[in-house]
């Protein structure tokens, strides 16, 4: 039995989200979507968990604070400079360094996290991608068994798909 890909395009994210909900309810195929902007409707319809990038940002931020503490305290003890009789460990100014490094490492981990998790830089183009999906169309690509293809196609059309194309793999 062979697998096919059904590529459909929608003019509206609400229709695309409806189609996803119906596919999920009918438990057919696995799918991928393309959208010109992040659509909350589509995200809710897919129903995946929140992105783990947030934990990466948290980890980066905490490591930034620890790095800040390490370099300020460490270098103060390495170069014991008495400035105006103030205590050697005058911690309030160190907060500034810890804060800046928290933001710096948190931001860098967020950026690298999104690249890593989204699989970019990508050399290969995902199956079914079309330039119009970056412009004004929402694309839904369903991969399913050939026997189910007709059912999926009719579900997509009923949800308002403007175009439905079947491709063999």
């Amino acid at each position: 039995m062979s697998t096919v890909e059904i590529i459909s395009s929608f003019g509206d994210d609400a229709q695309c989200a409806n189609a996803i909900e119906e596919l999920r309810a009918a438990k057919v195929g696995d799918f991928n979507t393309f959208a010109p902007f992040p659509s909350h409707r589509i995200e809710h319809a897919i129903g995946k968990k929140k992105s783990p990038v947030r934990w990466m940002v948290l980890g980066g931020g905490i490591s930034g604070i620890l790095t800040g503490l390490a370099i300020t305290i460490g270098t103060t003890y390495e170069w014991r400079l008495n400035a105006g009789g103030k205590p050697l460990l005058s911690w309030p100014p160190f907060i500034v360094i810890c804060f800046e490094l928290m933001v710096l490492l948190g931001g860098i981990s967020g950026f690298l996290g999104v690249l890593m998790m989204s699989g970019i830089p990508a050399i290969e183009i995902a199956p079914g991608y079309d330039g119009r999906f970056g412009e004004d169309r929402f694309g839904l690509v369903v991969r399913c068994e050939e026997t189910e293809a007709e059912r999926v196609e009719s579900m997509l059309k009923e949800s308002g798909a403007e175009e439905v194309v079947r491709e063999g793999i």
Partner: protein
């Protein structure tokens, strides 16, 4: 309930793409002549800097006790200009402000180039620029380390963090738009955008991680708006110099930064929208809102001037009072009053809704604001140094041709980079405009129902 703003919502997503991508088509001779002019000025300024590096800081007008003058004024001015970009791109994003979508990319771009310009000044100000890395902690043979109690070291960390985070935030927002440009481009441009887009395809997986990271980056960039200019203000406030040693400096500088920055955004956008033919995307609604931010921050800055004068009088320190007397009525008193006129009086015109949407009037007002804010920094920095504790040490300052040319060169550097960007990368975020249109359509529908 507020009525839906007067912006064209009948545009389709494709119209938005066309309007933005049209700007990125090959430019004419006039554009290249302007870019060439800017970079020629940069080249001249670079020659003056080389001469200064070769001969030493004696070629500037810096003499004891005025050792911080135009260079540091320019540094604070450009860091301040940068702040509005982050305010518009990050803070207003968290507040879900609708009018930010069309202006944020240009404002953020301005931030990047303004910080890149500001970052040059501490280097230019160094007598021995090749030792700039002494500000950073690094393992060395003699166990010498920077003093983390010094605000100059905080500044090195704050400004470099600001530049890095702004650049990452900006790059992230650009990726989906560059992918759009990739689809429409041909020839070498297609290859160029294909590399920059890094294979972005807008899949649900990509958008899911992107949205989360964008939100968190905005959350991280938001405190930077407050922290970076506070740290810059502490370069002065931590010193015991009269005229500098003040606890109101941090909020005072942050408000001034947003004031001057938003004014600069308006100054750049008004000619840009006309030259690039994007009046349908950057409408009166956007400028009306930007002008309101200028008006609000102008009032905050005016309040800070009054508080500063009041505290000096109320505290009763005779040396501080003398410094302020010199600031208001001394040889450079005219600069103070120019500053008051430009920053406190002229922006009051923005109370009029008609002036807020009159592009010519708005452009002229924002230029006055920029002049006023430059003078503000100069009056605080150099002005406070001329009249110090000991009258025997009082001295004046006159900028040399080196300082003037480098200042002009820095403006040309900023404008040249901004002009290059506006033609090669999307100056308006297509992704966010498309998201915004959905909201605008709903608002318009509500208005129709109410009518």
């Amino acid at each position: 309930m507020a009525a839906a703003p007067k912006v064209p919502v009948e545009q389709s997503y494709r119209d938005i793409d066309r309007s933005v991508l049209r700007v990125m088509e090959p430019a004419g001779m006039a554009y290249w002549a302007w870019v060439g002019f800017c970079f020629t000025l940069v080249g001249i300024a670079a020659c003056f800097w080389l001469r200064q590096i070769y001969s030493g800081l004696g070629v500037t007008g810096l003499r004891q006790p005025v050792m911080w003058a135009i260079y540091i004024t320019n540094f604070v001015f450009w860091v301040g200009i940068a702040h509005s970009g982050t305010l518009i791109s990050a803070v207003l994003f968290l507040f879900r402000t609708k009018w930010r979508t069309a202006v944020y990319r240009a404002a953020e771009t301005m931030t990047i180039f303004a910080v890149a310009t500001a970052g040059l000044y501490p280097l230019i100000h160094l007598g021995r620029v090749w030792f700039f890395y002494w500000l950073l902690p690094y393992p060395n043979q003699r166990y010498l380390q920077p003093d983390f109690r010094s605000p100059l070291v905080w500044d090195a960390f704050a400004v470099s963090t600001y530049l890095t985070i702004s650049a990452l935030f900006w790059t992230m927002g650009l990726i989906p738009d560059i992918a759009n440009a990739r689809e429409a481009a041909t020839g070498w441009r297609k290859k160029f955008y294909t590399v920059l887009a890094m294979g972005w395809q807008g899949t649900d997986r990509q958008w899911r991680h992107y949205s989360m990271a964008y939100l968190l980056m905005a959350g991280l960039a938001t405190p930077l708006v407050l922290s970076v200019h506070s740290v810059v203000s502490w370069d002065f406030a931590m010193a015991i110099n009269p005229g500098w040693h003040s606890t109101i400096f941090a909020p005072y500088f942050v408000a001034g930064a947003i004031f001057s920055g938003v004014a600069m955004v308006i100054t750049l956008l008004i000619p840009m929208r006309r030259m690039l033919g994007i009046e349908d995307l950057l409408t009166e609604w956007h400028f009306d809102n930007l002008a309101k931010v200028v008006l609000l921050t102008s009032l905050v800055v005016s309040y800070a001037y009054i508080t500063e004068a009041f505290m000096t009088w109320y505290a009763g320190d005779p040396i501080e009072q003398m410094t302020f007397h010199m600031r208001y009525f001394g040889p450079w008193g005219w600069m103070y009053w120019v500053m008051v006129l430009c920053n406190c009086v002229i922006p009051l015109l923005l109370f009029s809704p008609r002036i807020r949407v009159n592009m010519r009037a708005l452009w002229v007002i924002t230029i006055f604001v920029n002049i006023g804010m430059w003078f503000e920094r100069f009056v605080i920095i150099a002005g406070s140094l001329t009249a110090n504790f000991e009258p025997s040490q009082w001295a004046s300052y006159r900028p040399s041709i080196t300082e003037i040319m480098i200042t002009i060169g820095s403006f040309a550097w900023f404008l040249g980079l901004f002009s290059l960007f506006s033609r090669f990368l999307p100056i308006i975020s297509m992704t966010e405009l498309k998201e915004g249109i959905v909201w605008l359509r709903k608002a318009r529908k509500k208005d129709r129902v109410a009518a």
